[in-house]
Subunit: 452 residues, 2 copies
Amino acid sequence: MTTKKKQLKLGAFLSVPGNHLAGWRHPDAVPEYDMDFALYMRLAQTAERALYDTIFFQDTVAVGGSDALKAGDLTRTRLSRIVKLEPTATLAALAVGTKNIGLIATATTTFNEPYNIARRFSTIDHISGGRCGWNLVTSQIEDEAGNFNLDTHVDHALRYERAIEFYEVVAGLWDSWEHDAFLRDKESGVWFDRDKMHFLDHHGKYFNVRGPLNSPRTPQGRPVVAQAGSSEPGRELAARTADIVFTAQTELEAAREFFADVKGRTARYGRTPDDIKIMPGITPVIGRTMEEAQEKYDALQALLPDDVALAALARFTRGIDIFSYPLDGPMPDLPEANSAKSRQKLIMDMAKKQNMTLRQVARSVSAAQGHRVLVGTVGYIADQMQEWLEADACDGFNVICNYYPGPFDDFANQVIPELQRRGIFRTAYEGPTLRDNLGLRVPENRHTAARG
Amino acid sequence: MTTKKKQLKLGAFLSVPGNHLAGWRHPDAVPEYDMDFALYMRLAQTAERALYDTIFFQDTVAVGGSDALKAGDLTRTRLSRIVKLEPTATLAALAVGTKNIGLIATATTTFNEPYNIARRFSTIDHISGGRCGWNLVTSQIEDEAGNFNLDTHVDHALRYERAIEFYEVVAGLWDSWEHDAFLRDKESGVWFDRDKMHFLDHHGKYFNVRGPLNSPRTPQGRPVVAQAGSSEPGRELAARTADIVFTAQTELEAAREFFADVKGRTARYGRTPDDIKIMPGITPVIGRTMEEAQEKYDALQALLPDDVALAALARFTRGIDIFSYPLDGPMPDLPEANSAKSRQKLIMDMAKKQNMTLRQVARSVSAAQGHRVLVGTVGYIADQMQEWLEADACDGFNVICNYYPGPFDDFANQVIPELQRRGIFRTAYEGPTLRDNLGLRVPENRHTAARG
């Protein structure tokens, strides 16, 4: 009797022009990966050839660090992720040059209207034939508030309260039309069946939305919903709403705890553990030997000045002046954060556990933004991935690259074949939609369900 | 001495699945043109082969007539333009399958945030290599308000006030970065030149927006701005901000007056008449003879029941119960409108001038939404277009089709070659950007200009 091994899900987190803050300075890096759409398309098509489940774009609706830039801090002119293509327009464009890969973009619930978001992601699902996903976030950085009429950032708890209601409205709008609502019957002249069109009539604390959405039910029922918050309200929101959870996990035991905790919360929302795929980030640094991989990583770190690393860390240290602490002293304690709470906690836990200096913390955060770095041979990296998968620490990984395109191509050409050889990653797409490939059910339209 | 004749600009207004409300019922019509992206792409590529300046999508953020549908009016289940692809995502996707044609989408200033709109259109300009345009509108239909937390529609004057400020913010954000701001210098590690990044720091009645936009200056300096409002504040906003004006004009003299009026207003904003291209809509019905064309039009009209026509007219007759008036009586007077003001005036002027019955007005509006219908041979249609062009009634036309794809293909394959033969339409694109083809200047970045 052969039982099929548990299969990895893989996302390509396209953190262009490189997730490592000095990655773009690598001799092989192409820094134009931040804005050149043809290069984005190249990555998407490479990911599709490698059979990734999905590509994924994070997002912020501001230039990060603009407060500091305004105050005259020139260190930040050495940070690379300043401008980028807006992710939803980018997804729609990438849909045209790809056929199977999933397409997930971030859009904030803090500074958008649910009708607009429901509609845009529905449209991308239609354009892509059922491959679209929405990474639902609450805005994380203070800089964003200033672009949306606010002096200060919205309180963390209120952001989550709004996010939950935002999701309910979006999910409700996605059920505006049953799958067979449109008749387009030339003979009778009837375009649609009124019984299969549904008003939402949502009246809540943050939103009053009548509907119906002016977009039909989508090819995969509705777009996939991803989430990345790992704080207490973030976990609860994920259990309630998410199909995919992106997370930063560096330790096996903590990852297992997170995995069990989030999946364990699903029951109270009438969902099952299999309804959520948990995908921590990993950053591969591949060498022919362990030593060569370490040398590669060291060479990258050598491109990163301490002051740039510290400037990047400052995003997570609001409330104290991180620049006033000695670089080789201990990582100072932080006041409670109002944004990126879980990431901040991860950083502090790592610093305490490993007894790291401020310099070490800053350089580590700049290198991987809190994600796990796997420095080693193809075999070592595959071992680590397999270990976590089989230990129920994850359902798969979000692969994040230090720069583009070299490490991205190397992972696709070297690590993925090894995962396939081990029988833990697909050798062909399971189906045409993102839900097919992730093994997720097509959600029933609530009105069709009520009809019985 | 040969002087080049004044050249037509042509837009393809893709009013899918057909601008004529019964067009989709035509035996040759493909009603799936409302949602099938592959069909949208086919239209865009046909338009590009025909050398159109641009394609254009209108938009509303609601299902039209939802009030009536909610009240149980089943007539509206026979109206075809109920759902559609969201235009900005669609533009981005169409950019990938085209190389030269302009890509213009509508986005409302009433129910969006300027930062999001500035960014999305900037991104599409980057993705398309400088072919993007934004049709700036204020929301026209009452149904939209209910999807955005409002019980009633925003007052007309306030919508325009907000629109002006919205435009100022968007235009300001588009100047956030000078063209040479990004250095990406691996050696020094400097990513961008701080002197060429600019905060907006806008503080207004409707918006407080700090900036900078997280998108660089676009390939054509900034996206083209189109506008379609023809009311008094609409004309003023156009003179101040628009590169293109879409308008509904059915009479030569009125079109000449509109043309002169809008162009005449440009001076007060430091602009010239050439800075605005005025493009009325036309709907062609092409026959090998005039009689055949008329028969085609009559056959189309025969597919349109009176009650469906009346339901469509009701959009422009808020404030009275249009259904209570006798169909063969005179068109009743209307109270002052709060939306689609100029279109309503056009309809009333037409009704009075031609002494039309309610039935005639309803059928005329359903057939062409207030636009001019040219029923005749290729020669007749080209004559009409040339006459208006040479009479300074327009800079070109927005071509609107009763259904797809037949009339669209016929115009491309028959009328455009005739326009080319007459020397009033291009035989090759002038350049890679929409501004190149429209003959519009690339706007200088305000900060680069100030630098001198």
